[in-house]
Symmetry: C2
Subunit: 423 residues, 2 copies
């Protein structure tokens, strides 16, 4: 099935906003085994929209149009959809009532121009939008089924998942259920993960498992798309593959599905009534910044200390300045973590001390990381070196710090080597 | 002049990467008074690429193609460009030498498949890429001039600015110079800025000044595009408009052109040999995280303290716990800033204490912010309330903290009200 996406709106066309809706839709369709053939970006212009709708209507089997369903004069999707389909716009009484009710429940009065949002092409099938006033709809233009969606990301997301993907799957003739299983890892590059997982798809010989990856430095997301007759069939197929992926990626898996690294760390601490203190240098508060604001962190995050000068850290924690004033070391990081723990009475203290290279911010700019975790049971530490420029080193060190804490809390080794570090 | 953009690559088409190159190009062209008529996204597929090139060649006057100039088998831009133009691919000896030299200077050996990057359509005009091995080029397909650019963002940016925009301006028949002047502000909404600046374009009656905005919460960027016969003419036209914008937006302007809020604060502190200490709660280290990692901050950023519990802050700074244990207040923030300054001996101490609402993370979720700045001369403080959900409140408070510091360092009032706060 040939699927196209048309993104509309001057804000997208002029680059005023980055088109994250496109990548979201394409990615989500891929997750369900549906591929996008091409994408088009057009502004709020009647003739351009009409030409784009007609062209896609000739080429594709299904077209998703995003944006242009709002109440203002530059929202043109319903009007041009009707023109392209050769039908009239008519007031949809049902949607009008929904909108009146929507405003009433929020103690607001519906303005007259919102009525425009209930004007739909006469042949339109309504696609429900339970969280907004923009009415989604579907109709045929040329040989393609068109699905019109709102530009507001959360409204689009819900409509795509609940209304459009089931219809696309039905039209594609795939009378099966589908499921996406995700693993998040840190420390292995994409090609390494790919190589480690060679052949896992073949554990289910009928080809119903598809493996894919998505990199967002420094994490890699590994995705398994599984098709089956129903959810039981999927669970049966997934079980051995899932187990094998966990075995092969092992300790590098930091979370699955909707879990985040910071969420896993926070939950592991909360579960044991633990508390956390963090000492940072070049990461500049960004380790604390990943975890301390989360709901629930108010009970767990005890204290963060940030300084660029190790001597400032030594002074703050009452340490012998000589220990961390010269070349940093694992021992220095251990002393800092232990002193921070003693000072704050936190159950866990993480220290991430970094010496950054001198010189310009280039691809060969690096940093030496000295990391330690102190608890009532003792202290563990590691050394690491990351290259790639200031941002790369800083982002890598933030992730390394959080991931070592995750490993420690899960009883795993904190010194397993990451692909992008140099010793 | 009708300009189209074609973005190529499976990674973009499948949503694996967000298409920031498109928004960058569209925005940059707008800055030079050039508009994009439509955008197309196609994968690494010979027939799809050919169809896209031919279609745009019929419709547009100029087309920018992004991506597909790399050394691997799925990089197809040169091949399909040659097919669409009906010419052969030939080895460009000059570019091959450039590549050999490029690798030699980096002590690396060029691999055989890089030769492919020097195969260009016979009629191609080379567009220089001084920082990479992908050779840009231009040629005619149909009635349009096509410009082929690399997918690597920094290579694209340089080629667009240095090679392509001058050619587009020449083709558009605009024999004038153009200049973009930018102002960054915090605290005024886009519609408010728009209203405050009503009529500034008319200070230059010949229509050569164009006003535009770009919002990236919580900052607004105000852009003036000025055309003139040459840079002297532009400077003459810009002067009165620039002065008027500065007058009307006043203290809300936090920086101009490439300046950032954190950079302005850092420079203002460095200039007076100042040092900074920061105390944070719900902003979770993200105020420190904006400034402490910057080059030069190692001399300025003295210490950051993060805690979610005000009692922890009181204990750390040796303050009377009663002062900040109950309802927070400006007085509590003042006491914290003063104690932090005394403790760290920094010239400037910023304290941003936040009480977040109870309840779910919705649009009506808010936070009360108590902010103080202490120096050798005394202490100033303000109270603020921001709604909009956890992220919105946190991001707003980070910006408010840094902007109050900027105002203080510039001798301006720190209590001027922002549009999105409620009292």
């Amino acid at each position: 099935m040939l699927i196209e996406i048309i993104c509309t709106g001057d804000e997208v066309l002029t680059g005023k906003i980055v088109n994250t809706n496109f990548s979201y839709m394409a990615q989500k369709l891929e997750d369900f085994g549906l591929s996008v053939t091409s994408g088009t970006i057009v502004g709020d212009d009647r003739e351009e929209l009409l030409a784009a709708f007609r062209l896609s209507g000739e080429r594709a089997d299904a077209v998703i149009v995003n944006g242009g369903l709002g109440p203002t004069v530059d929202d043109l999707s319903q009007e041009i959809a009707a023109r392209a389909a050769g039908v009239d716009l008519v007031l949809n009484e049902g949607w009008l009532e929904r909108m009146v009710d929507f405003f009433r429940r929020r103690n607001r009065v519906m303005s007259e121009n919102n009525r425009k949002q209930a004007m739909l092409p006469s042949i339109a099938e309504v696609l429900d939008n339970p969280i907004g006033t923009a009415c989604g709809f579907a109709l045929d233009i040329g040989k393609a089924r068109f699905f019109f969606t709102p530009g507001v990301p959360r409204e689009l997301r819900r409509m795509l998942e609940e209304q459009i993907i089931p219809r696309l799957l039905a039209r594609s003739g795939v009378s099966t259920a589908i499921h996406l299983k995700r693993f998040h890892s840190y420390g292995l590059g994409e090609s390494h993960v790919d190589q480690l997982l060679t052949g896992v798809e073949e554990l289910v010989p009928d080809g119903s498992v598809k493996l894919g990856f998505r990199t967002h430095y420094p994490q890699i997301e590994t995705k398994l798309t599984i098709r089956g007759a129903d959810m039981d069939d999927i669970a049966r197929k997934l079980a051995p593959v899932e187990e094998e992926v966990r075995k092969r990626l092992g300790n590098f898996i930091l979370g699955e599905d909707d879990q985040t690294l910071e969420g896993v760390v926070l939950a592991a601490l909360a579960e044991r009534d633990g508390t956390l203190a963090v000492v940072e240098t070049f990461t500049a508060g960004q380790i604390a910044g990943r975890i301390a604001h989360l709901a629930g962190a108010e009970k767990v995050f005890r204290r963060g200390l940030v300084a660029r000068d190790p001597a400032e850290i030594a002074a703050t924690l009452g340490l012998d300045g000589g220990l961390i004033s010269g070349e940093l070391s694992r021992e220095a990081a251990e002393a800092v973590a232990q002193a921070m723990r003693a000072e704050t009475d936190a159950s866990h203290a993480l220290a991430v001390l970094i010496e950054v290279d001198d010189g310009p911010d280039r691809i060969d700019f690096g940093g030496s990381i000295h990391l330690a975790i102190a608890t009532g049971e003792g202290v563990e530490s590691r050394r690491s070196r990351i290259y790639g420029g200031r941002d790369w080193v800083r982002l890598g060190a933030v992730e390394l710090g959080l991931d070592c804490l995750r490993r420690y809390l899960q009883g795993l080794s904190i010194t397993e080597r990451a692909d992008f570090e140099r010793v």
